[in-house]
Amino acid sequence: MNESVITPVNRATIAGESMARDLSLAETLRVLEVARGIRTDRLQAELALSRNELRESLRKRLLDAAAITGDSVTEAEVDAAITQYFQTQHVYADPEFSFSILLAHLYVRRNAVMVLLVGLVLLYLLIF
């Protein structure tokens, strides 16, 4: 008798199972992708929250590696290196200017370039 009672939780579970059966392969993959993205973001956030622990771990590893290889690095030098690592992490800069970069810029602004060219042609036709 009790098994036949439908609680709100049971209802949600049943609806979820029904929806999962109806999903196509592509939709399933997309949902999984979103879930993976959320999990990755959360992991990244958790990692960022334990930045001090990460810093300590890095410091220990670098000092151990230096001891094994026989490099005479001081703790201050290791600390400076770690600080620099965090400073340069996630930094972005456009590549140095080159012909390829020029072409890329013209490409991403192709609409504006086209309008300009059409304008120039019309102007030429009007004048000559």
């Binding site: 997309r30 973001d41 956030a45 960022a48 001090n52 996630h90 930094v91 972005y92 800069a93 890329a104």
Partner: protein, 478 residues
């Protein structure tokens, strides 16, 4: 040499101004002397007060002995009022002392009770602490709460670092056209909708700027701080839950020991003690005030003595000076004789100054009267248009002498005016009669004719008779 009418008016005005100036100078001098008299009167008042203080060195002194029996009744009244005030203060002091003693006893009792409760609470707190120290669950929860708090603080510090990083590093991504181009199109996600050549070219651009790595970093900088804040909020909640559980356990143990009831009793007693302490302070302030009033009443400069001195001072002021002198002579001391001598000197000075003021006021009044007569003449001359540009007066005119006589009241303004009127004429071949100026050249022709017809003896009358006809007014040819 003939004098112009304008010059005549100017001389009259100047004479009047000189008289007005004399009047003002006399008034100013009178005011200065009046101020000087005020100063002397003030000095005199001070001298009377000194004299009163000599005859009445203290409130209980016998003024009749110095011959001032008139002062006895007023003095008696003041002394009675002082005695009454003293009695009232003594009664108030007795009442307030009783109140203070009552409140002090109450405060002492409350303090004892509060101290006893504090001791009991200390003992129970010791027992409670011992119980909780030996409770393994309490220990576990406390440790977990401490660890959670440590993590929370570390996480908050990390969040601050990441937020600073994001603020510094995000602008480079947002300023890059190539990165923003791909980011807007959601390149690399399943929401990217382009194909063919565009897709290939976009891939080429993505390779140029290493878009996947840059996008991951940008995503980290934009979304991670928010996620971190959520995680920190979760962490805070879990720490709060642990702390609440620890507190609940402590509260339950304290309840069993009866500590909350003791705390409630202590709080009630503490507030009663505070109220009693405030009441005690208020009573002490009142007591202090009464004692201060008592001390002032006993001092030589109490308000009743000052009142008696003022009354005596007024009595001395009103008394005949000869009476003051004779009573000063009767007393053996010299101090009152010296003050009376000073008063006599001040009286003399005031008398002299008053005479001087009266003289100056008379001078001012006379100058005003003279100036008024001169002004009256000036007004008449102006009404008769003596200041007309073409009006001239005979050179035989002695205006100074006439004005002096008018100012002194030896002659009246009408006489001077008539004299001036007779000596004036217009600087014109046809207009040599007074009426010509008033009525115009056409009238002058008529008046001249009338004067000629009347003959030499009656010519002037004929001219005046013509003037009274009020011919049409054309004061000049044009």
């Amino acid at each position: 040499m003939p004098v112009s009418g304008q010059e005549i008016i100017r001389q009259i005005d100047q004479f009047a101004a000189t008289l007005r100036s004399d009047e003002q100078q006399a008034s100013l001098a009178a005011q200065a002397i009046s101020a000087e008299i005020d100063r002397i009167v003030a000095e005199q008042s001070g001298a009377f007060r000194e004299l009163a203080a000599i005859y009445l060195p203290h409130l209980e002194d016998d003024v009749v002995q110095d011959g001032w029996s008139e002062m006895q009744a007023a003095l008696k009244s003041i002394q009675l009022r002082k005695a009454d005030a003293r009695q009232q203060l003594e009664k108030s002091l007795r009442d307030i002392e009783m109140q203070r003693q009552h409140v002090d006893t109450q405060i002492q009792q409350l303090r004892t009770q509060v101290n006893q409760l504090t001791l009991q609470c200390d003992q129970l707190a010791e027992t409670l602490s011992s119980q909780l120290r030996n409770d393994s669950r309490f220990q576990t929860l406390s440790r977990q709460a401490a660890e959670g708090q440590a993590k929370l603080e570390q996480a908050q510090a990390s969040l601050a670092d990441v937020e600073v990083d994001a603020k510094q590093k995000r602008p480079a991504y947002e300023a890059s056209r190539l990165f923003q181009y791909l980011h807007r199109r959601e390149f690399g996600t399943d929401r990217y909708r382009f194909g063919g050549l565009i897709r290939r070219l976009d891939r080429w651009v993505a390779r140029l700027i290493n878009y996947p790595v840059a996008e991951a970093s940008y995503r980290f900088l934009t979304s991670t701080p928010q996620l971190m804040r959520q995680l920190i909020a979760d962490q805070q909640k879990s720490v709060q839950a642990l702390v609440a559980e620890v507190e609940q356990q402590q509260r339950s143990a304290a309840q069993v020991l009866g500590l909350p009831k003791l705390q409630a009793d202590g709080t009630r007693l503490r507030s009663e003690l505070d109220r009693a302490t405030q009441e005690g302070e208020r009573i002490r302030a009142r007591e202090e005030k009464i004692r201060h009033d008592q001390a002032e009443l006993d001092s030589a400069e109490c308000q009743y003595y000052r009142e008696a001195l003022t009354t005596f001072q007024e009595l001395l002021k009103k008394a005949e000076r000869s009476q003051v002198v004779s009573r000063a002579n009767q007393t053996p001391g010299m101090a009152d004789d010296q003050i009376v001598a000073r008063l006599q000197h001040l009286d003399q000075e005031i008398s002299t100054k008053t005479q001087e003021i009266n003289r100056l006021n008379a001078v001012a009044k006379e100058s005003a009267a003279k100036a008024s007569r001169i002004h009256e003449l000036a007004s008449k001359c102006r009404r008769a248009q003596f200041d007309h540009p073409r009006r001239v007066f005979d050179d035989g005119l002695n205006l100074d002498s006439a004005l002096q006589n008018l100012a002194q009241g030896r002659i009246d303004s009408d006489s001077v005016y008539q004299d001036l009127y007779r000596r004036q004429h217009l600087d014109s071949p046809l207009a040599d009669q007074a009426a010509a100026v008033l009525e115009g050249p056409m009238a002058n022709i008529l008046l001249q004719t009338m004067a000629h017809a009347a003959g030499a003896a009656l010519g002037a009358y004929a001219a005046r008779a013509g003037q009274q006809h009020r011919l049409p007014k054309t004061k000049d040819w044009f």
